[in-house]
Subunit: 425 residues, 2 copies
């Protein structure tokens, strides 16, 4: 019954000028069509997809690499396999989840289950709305002041610990009067300030932080308390969202692009205290007004259904793994392996970030012999550890080790690092 043929080499012809690896990694030869000549260019001939029996942490049998990309980033293999299995016919509905009306009862279940599981993961109370939006954190850089500041004369405080916080600060200048109360720029964004030393504005409408700076690898381990009880704490949590437990009740707004820990790109999650909704500036685009989406349960217009669906699968997977306390333990173990290797290298590898605020998600590091970095990245890639190049603004290497990166990925990376050091002293 399991009539199986698979992607013919022909389906790759339109890519033939690229340097991509051969598809033979992915497709067992027994699944290849014997008569590719009957297929036209780009005609998909695959009628069956075979995935490995094991969906655990090893990549040896699957042709999968260890993907250290900063985002879009690695997802749990079990989630991808589940999505793949039902992509053609979602749970007997006769259609793909991609084809399904956002007002169908099937999708209604998907989005509500996703929200419910996220609420469980982060213990989000009914005082908060959970919104599934579009446009990335960058859209929230505008949406936050537009929603929280009654007028362009309102004040907001910004602690800037990296590039993303800086972008949020600059965008806010269009809609309020943001104060830069601390910046790590002079020290190349390697620190988080002591909260006691901050000079907060007495009338700040909100205090903004970026909880984890993806590029610089600096992560808040605790959160500042606004000096004024009416000041709202706001955090961009894009790159450490759902990587550990967070006391949501300390925040007025948490926002996160999904494409690091919880899904593909194309959906942005906003958790906003309900009493803050409904006071947007008159110039706020309807799609940036939290009220629009809170009133309609994120269905004012067509949401990014597929991306929300994948997030839902990830949330369920995180719950199954024991929730965020367990997830944090794993993340600490993984990051510990890498930081320990760097610190034990006698200065061969260097992470510039102050130890107490090193990110569990994004680990930037350089080689003392910087001329070897290109070789390091190329050799690692050959070994199936990809996307290790540092952000263009920083250079060096960066290992993004989100929730879905298995311990085996870190073990392989640190073994490679030690070997590389031994070979290139």
């Amino acid at each position: 019954m399991a009539t199986s043929t698979a992607s013919s080499p022909n389906s790759l012809l339109f890519h033939q000028s690229s340097s991509r690896k051969s598809s033979s990694l992915a497709i067992p030869s027994s699944l290849r069509l014997s008569k590719p000549s009957s297929l036209s260019l780009r005609r998909i001939s695959c009628t069956a997809v075979t995935a490995p029996l094991s969906v655990s942490s090893s990549n040896a049998s699957t042709g999968r690499v260890f993907n250290f990309a900063a985002g879009p980033a690695i997802l749990p293999e079990s989630v991808i396999l589940e999505a793949q299995a039902e992509l053609f016919n979602y749970q007997g509905s006769g259609m793909s989840i991609m084809e399904m009306s956002h007002r169908s009862k099937e999708f209604d279940y998907v989005i509500k289950k996703a929200e419910s599981d996220l609420r469980s993961l982060l213990s989000i109370s009914d005082d908060y709305s959970v919104l599934f939006l579009q446009g990335g954190a960058t859209t929230q850089f505008a949406a936050v002041p537009l929603n929280l500041c009654a007028s362009p004369d309102s004040t907001a405080d910004f602690i800037v610990t990296g590039s993303w916080g800086d972008k949020a600060f600059k965008e806010a200048q269009k809609y309020c009067k943001p104060n830069l109360i601390w910046s790590g720029k002079a020290e190349k964004y390697t620190k988080i300030p002591s909260f006691d030393s901050l000079q907060q504005s007495p009338d700040a409408r909100y205090l903004h932080i970026c909880a984890n700076e993806t590029i610089h690898g600096v992560e808040f381990k605790d959160y500042p308390t606004p000096a004024n009880k009416d000041t709202i704490l706001v955090a961009d949590m894009s790159s450490n969202f759902c990587s550990k437990p967070v006391d949501v009740s300390r925040f007025g707004v948490i926002y996160a692009g999904a494409q690091k820990n919880v899904g593909p790109s194309g959906v942005t999650i906003v958790i906003v205290r309900k009493d803050l909704i409904g006071n947007a500036q008159p110039i706020t685009p309807v799609m940036l007004d939290y009220k629009t989406h809170a009133d309609t349960l994120s269905l004012y217009n067509t949401p990014p259904c597929f991306a929300i669906y994948i997030c839902g699968l990830v949330f369920a997977d995180l719950l199954k793994k024991g929730g965020l306390a367990e997830v944090e333990k794993n993340n600490a173990k993984k990051a510990g392996l890498l930081y320990d290797t760097i610190d034990a290298s006698g200065g061969y590898y260097v992470c510039p970030v102050e130890k107490s605020v090193r990110s569990l998600m994004n680990v930037p590091f350089t080689l003392r012999q910087s001329e070897l970095e290109k070789t390091f990245i190329a050799e690692a890639s050959k070994e199936g550890m990809v996307q290790l190049k540092g952000h263009r603004s920083v250079g060096g290497m960066r290992a993004s080790i989100y929730n879905a990166m298995p311990l085996a990925g870190l073990e392989k990376l640190v073994a490679f690092m030690k070997d590389f050091q031994a070979r290139n002293p």
Copy 2:
């Protein structure tokens, strides 16, 4: 080698309270696991996906339905199968397209190929930028005036032929002084005005139309010419984008949510004349400024990669099918079948839209005996023709028959309609 087991009924347990059909439609019994008891709740047990050998227009053997949803909507089966085949390991890259950095060479190829194919399909000249954005057409309702109108005192003309045009008009009031130069509301949005009769504003910065009203089924068959040579023609083409050839050079801006004819929800395509870029109002959020995206080839921040990838597959598929002239022929044939059946029913079925402007994409109709409409929809659904319920604001039925709806779907629908009429005279 083709080790095949499939979604166990267990994987549906978390849905057991819904009224969804059994998964037995989709999964041959020979592929079911014999020991579902060993699986935990929601644990995905599928390690192989079997899809039908034939990916043509029939749904009998696949468990697929004919999906008449207005959007998200039916996609070409071959596209879904191609996406499914490579979802776990994209063309030997060792990762899913969902996990791939938007700055990787693989994704760079995907987005450039998508743009290039779209340019071929619509003969888009180099005078235009093609942008892949987020937020749906609704975000463009704000972005268009923010980008085109130098100041809030600028004027723009709106021809409103349905709900979506009306929403665009209302949103524009925040950013310019829009004039409603024609509205079909009094006639329940069943008409398009004669262009000669329009009283255009001499100083209008732009003239806005919605080329196809998804809810009301009214479609422009030609386009008005702005009275003033400096006035820019702008069209929301969400629901008839790529359904027929369009002379792009007549427009300053064309925008379209993808989730009707060209992809899943979550990506919005904007085609904008380059000389119109770079003059956004100072209050424009950076993500709504066309310059942001034109300067970075839609990679200012993380784009909705997966949705863009699917659009690319659809564009390639449309080219393979002979381009938009062929596509339009098919669409005309399909719509003709349905409208002819309605018109030949002796008033049993009624389409309220003026014949000359009936949409080839969305066909609203009612039953003379409106009390039978619920039965009609339920019986059609039983027969595998789903999502035929009209929009809540209009009632009755609506058949959305986008590019990907096969002729067989229309044949089945009209046969059912004739039978229904015979059985319920």
